[in-house]
């Protein structure tokens, strides 16, 4: 929404205006603390009760040369007094800590949007570094916006005149001056951030107090001067009653895995190797040792998955977490788990590729890799998380499938939801699925590859159990006995059996729900992190009077039982994907239905409007027919 220029005025004070929705982007150099600033604004807004959605956008380099375009790090947050689904298409407010941050982000800013710049950084040298030929603060290039010039560095140093910190440390506080200003501008309390600073820097109180002082200076600057004519507020969202927290996708995934461990009674073992954007799952689980979690930073991706397989053999919940390049390395290990039929969860936090690609950017282009990127017939269940909070439920469901069917399961997430945050209505522990597992104990008649009639799962017989000594391995197995067997008929039987076992998961997963008309002209079908943009676009299209339905796949292998029927009920099916049409390829192959792909592979998520415009075009075309 556009921020109003006028509002209710009390004499001598800035006008006040209540807005329902605002998008703010903090942008600066990699070292300017923009992620931290954005996160603080987000957490404070969460505690006020706003609905929110975030989009961090940072470079792959830890510190690209200061002041350059590749070094710009940004954090976008949208807060609202109503249910929202995306971090917003275009910012209403841009905080630009230097010329490069302005240049890199200006094109996204809404017309008449607010720009707050740190004028201290607009030096001839920095302007040149950012590729500006003339100073945009002095020419007319920013006339379409509401520009606020603030000497952030100077003001920060002045606020800390009496501090004993060195100049470099003082200057590092300047992001909190900007944060204090934004807190004032959007009527947020300072206390949650003050509390956070004092805990975070409890061993260096001088740093905490310097930041508090600077943040207050930013606030007071706005309150005392008439820098801003209007001050805004965003009221709490009318969320469903319950207790909430703000959560990132990777955090929800880590907590979900611990919850699955507790609900299954299986100790959690994570084998991992550092890789963007999956490392935070390792970092977070490494702090949960008090839940019996073992984390293993292996020598490579292969060792990480193999150790997880070993842990599963021993009766742990084996998990390995990585991103596309690491999943490629794990392929042989995953196939071993297929063959030895042990439970294993592999999390693929997708990023831009191929090869090293765009490590810090998002993409959904590993779908075909996880479906087919292994030698021979290698059926593996696949499930995709659709939002930061949904990563929690997805972790539990992945573990359920893995243990109930004795199979590796691949869980797909991506950089967008891994690093993005949203409010999460905290579930009651007792309402979480019961995942209890029974290890096989009875030696009488035991065969390692005998099977449950319903699920076709083989028994989980862990070492240490007397009388169940047996050998497993990657060589083809004779059904039931598990002995090595090269007979043609047996191999054909086993290939089909492994496929059938995974296919039978369809018997206990929910049907695909269609939201909106159950049949008609247009269905927008998504998977994974496109949920927010699709939901926002479809809701808007309906509000605009268009007839459109939507559905979102959680289970991708196997597909829900009614998927073919759902596709048949619609004249046209649109699948927006951050790839060149990978789900569409699967759907066409399986259901012989024409699927229309909407591809975007820019390393950033769809905006609501992009999908909305596509819906408008398609419904327009339908009407003309």
């Amino acid at each position: 929404m556009t921020l109003p220029i006028a509002g209710q005025t009390d004499a001598g004070k800035a006008a006040e205006a209540t807005v329902s929705d605002v998008v703010i982007r903090f942008a600066g150099d990699s070292g300017d603390g923009m992620q931290l600033t954005g996160t603080q604004f987000t957490n404070t807004s969460a505690l006020i009760g706003n609905d929110l959605s975030t989009l961090p956008d940072f470079p792959a380099e830890i510190r690209a040369p200061a002041g350059t375009l590749p070094g710009v790090s940004a954090f976008q947050v949208r807060i609202a007094d109503h249910d929202i689904h995306t971090p917003g298409d275009a910012p209403d407010v841009l905080v630009a800590m230097n010329p490069a941050a302005l240049k890199a982000n200006l094109r996204d800013l809404r017309d008449n949007g607010v720009i707050i710049v740190n004028t201290d950084e607009f030096t001839p040298r920095n302007l040149k570094r950012a590729g500006y030929e003339s100073n945009p603060l002095e020419d007319d290039s920013l006339n379409a916006f509401r520009l606020y010039r603030v000497a952030l560095t100077t003001m920060t140093r002045r606020a800390l005149e009496e501090s004993e910190l060195d100049v470099r440390s003082k200057d590092r506080c300047k992001n909190f001056l900007a944060l204090g200003m934004i807190y004032w501008l959007f009527s947020r309390p300072l206390e949650p951030t003050i509390d956070w600073l004092r805990v975070k820097f409890r061993r260096r109180p001088e740093i905490a107090e310097a930041n508090v002082k600077v943040m207050k200076a930013g606030w007071n600057f706005c309150d005392i001067t008439d820098a801003f004519q209007v001050r805004y507020d965003v009221e709490p969202a009318k969320l469903e009653p319950g207790t909430y927290r703000s959560i990132h996708g990777n955090s929800a995934l880590a907590i979900g895995l611990v919850a699955a461990s507790r609900r299954s009674g299986l100790p959690l073992f994570l084998g991992a190797y550092p890789i963007t954007p999956a490392s935070d799952v390792l970092h977070e689980l490494a702090t949960y040792k008090h839940f019996g979690v073992t984390t293993y930073q292996a020598e490579d991706e292969i060792a990480a998955v193999c150790a997880a397989i070993g842990a599963s053999f021993g009766g742990n919940l084996g998990v390995s977490c990585s991103s596309g390049p690491g999943i490629a390395l794990k392929a042989e290990g995953i196939n071993l788990a297929v063959m030895v039929e042990l439970p294993l969860v592999i999390c693929d936090i997708q990023r831009g590729g191929p090869s090293t690609g765009l490590p810090t950017k998002t993409e959904q282009a590993d779908l075909l890799q996880v479906m087919f990127g292994r030698n021979n017939e290698s059926p593996v269940p696949v499930i995709a998380a659709s939002s930061p909070a949904n990563c929690f439920d997805t972790a539990l469901e992945a573990v359920r499938m893995a243990t109930a069917y004795m199979t590796p399961v691949i869980l797909l997430s991506d950089g967008y939801i891994a690093n993005g945050a949203e409010p999460w209505r905290i579930p009651q522990v007792e309402e979480l699925p019961d995942l209890r597992v029974d290890f096989h104990q009875n030696a009488e008649g035991f065969m390692p590859y005998m099977r449950d009639e319903q699920t076709l799962a083989r028994p989980w017989a862990i070492p240490g159990t007397p009388g169940l000594e047996h050998r497993i391995g990657g060589l083809e197995k004779e059904d039931v006995t598990g002995n090595v067997n090269y007979e043609p008929e047996n191999h054909d039987h086993m290939v089909r059996l492994r496929a059938e076992k995974v296919a039978r998961i369809v018997n206990d997963i929910p049907d695909l729900e269609v939201e909106g008309p159950q049949s008609g002209k247009l269905l927008v079908l998504g998977w994974g992190s496109t949920l927010g943009a699709i939901t926002g676009a479809v809701n808007q299209a309906r509000a605009d009077g268009l007839t459109v339905s939507r559905a979102h796949l959680w289970h991708i292998n196997p597909f829900p039982r009614n998927l073919g029927d759902v596709l048949d009920r619609f004249e046209r099916v649109l699948v927006p994907e951050m790839n060149l049409g990978q789900l569409a390829l699967l759907l066409r192959a399986r259901y012989l239905k024409d699927i229309e792909t909407y591809s975007k592979v820019e390393g950033k998520p769809f905006t609501r409007d992009e999908i909305l415009h596509r819906i408008e075009r398609m419904t327009g075309e339908s009407n003309q027919r």
Binding site: L47, H290, F291, G292, A303, C306, A307, G314, N483
Partner: protein
């Protein structure tokens, strides 16, 4: 409860019902027999043994042992075994691997397992050739070796497995020979008793693709002439009538003839517990292992030192933190900052 004691385990208890499918005459038969003789003597219940292997002739080993077994993928056995040992410290985990499996495709896992000192017993069957893929040179094949993939002779310099292990920081390093049954059994028992990664190179004959690879050591004459049987605290003597010894000059080993004024007192007394690994490294370096050089082939325990194991360290941390930081799943899920929306839509900080 059953109060009668189970009968002691025998060799037979460790023989599986699977037909052994190594080539007739393969050295692996002898090693299998040695392991099946040693395991019953370790006082460990059969169900507590796990044997993990990779790919190659040697890696078929688990199928023939009536224990828990895992025939994994090429080179990755140490990684699989590490996952087992970290989570199941009650199990006795053995890795069986070969020169290609451990030193080529799986080199990374081997060195990292050794540096971490995971409590695993690693048996590397070194026959200096790829057998299962039918005769290519391996990372331990000698320079100039003619194989199917090196028809004009190998120009690769080989690894010495002992030096890899010592260089990676292994806390137990030993060597034996497939057909030296009493020696092999004694070495296996020492390995079994070691707390930490125990690395044992077993020199093994491949009578199909690399026959008589160690003949200069293993034939009747060679056993005494070319074998240096290391014993902790004993001087380094060898030869038919213990008539030769090894002296350490301060920088190098040298062979001396005993007699004529030279005695055992001039030989270095072997210290497998020496904290600095450089002497063991130098000992490993005196021979390439085939018994063809000027020096004898060191056999037995080169290094055996105490060090904390990785798996124990991991488990200790978990145990300590589980006691020190009791937290419920509900508390974990809630985290530190929550807000509550009540039925009237009012928002307040904190949980209900």
């Amino acid at each position: 409860m059953n109060t009668t004691e189970a009968p002691p385990l025998t060799r037979k208890d460790f023989q599986s019902d699977q037909e052994v499918r190594w080539c007739p005459g393969c050295g692996d038969y002898a090693i299998l027999s040695a392991v099946q003789q040693v395991f019953p003597e370790l006082g460990i219940p059969r169900e507590k043994f796990v044997i993990v292997s990779g790919i190659g002739c040697s890696s078929r080993f688990p199928y023939y042992m009536n224990t828990y077994g895992f025939h994994s993928i090429h080179g990755r056995a140490p990684a699989v075994a590490t996952g087992i040992k970290m989570t199941r410290p009650d199990l006795d985990v053995w890795v069986v691997t070969g020169d290609g499996d451990a030193l080529s495709i799986g080199g990374n896992h081997l060195i990292h397992t050794l540096r971490r000192n995971v409590n695993l017993k690693i048996l590397l069957f070194n026959n200096r050739v790829y057998g299962l893929t039918k005769g290519q040179y391996s990372p331990t094949s000698e320079l100039g070796k003619r194989t199917k993939s090196t028809p004009h002779g190998s120009v690769d310099f080989p690894f010495n497995p002992l030096n890899i292990a010592i260089g990676a920081g292994a806390t137990f390093v030993a060597r034996s020979v497939d057909i030296f049954m009493p020696h092999l059994k004694a070495v296996l028992k020492r390995a079994a008793a070691h707390k930490g990664s125990a690395f044992v190179e077993v020199m093994q004959n491949c009578n199909i693709y690399n026959d008589k690879a160690f003949a200069a050591l293993t034939d009747k004459a060679g056993r005494q002439q070319n074998g240096l049987y290391l014993e902790h605290g004993k001087p380094l003597v060898f030869g038919d009538n213990k008539d030769k010894g090894l002296r350490f000059t301060g920088t190098d080993f040298e062979v001396i003839e005993l007699g004529n004024g030279k005695s055992e007192d001039d030989c270095l007394v072997w210290d497998e517990e020496h904290a600095n690994p450089s002497l063991a490294f130098q000992m490993a370096s005196i021979s390439t292992g085939d018994g063809l050089g000027d020096f004898p082939v060191p056999l037995g325990v080169l290094r055996a030192v105490d060090a904390p194991t990785y798996d124990a360290g991991v488990i200790d941390q978990i145990d300590e933190l589980t006691t020190a930081r009791p937290q419920t799943l509900d508390q974990l899920i809630h985290g530190t900052d929550t807000w509550t929306v009540d039925a009237g839509g009012n928002v307040h900080r904190g949980a209900n």
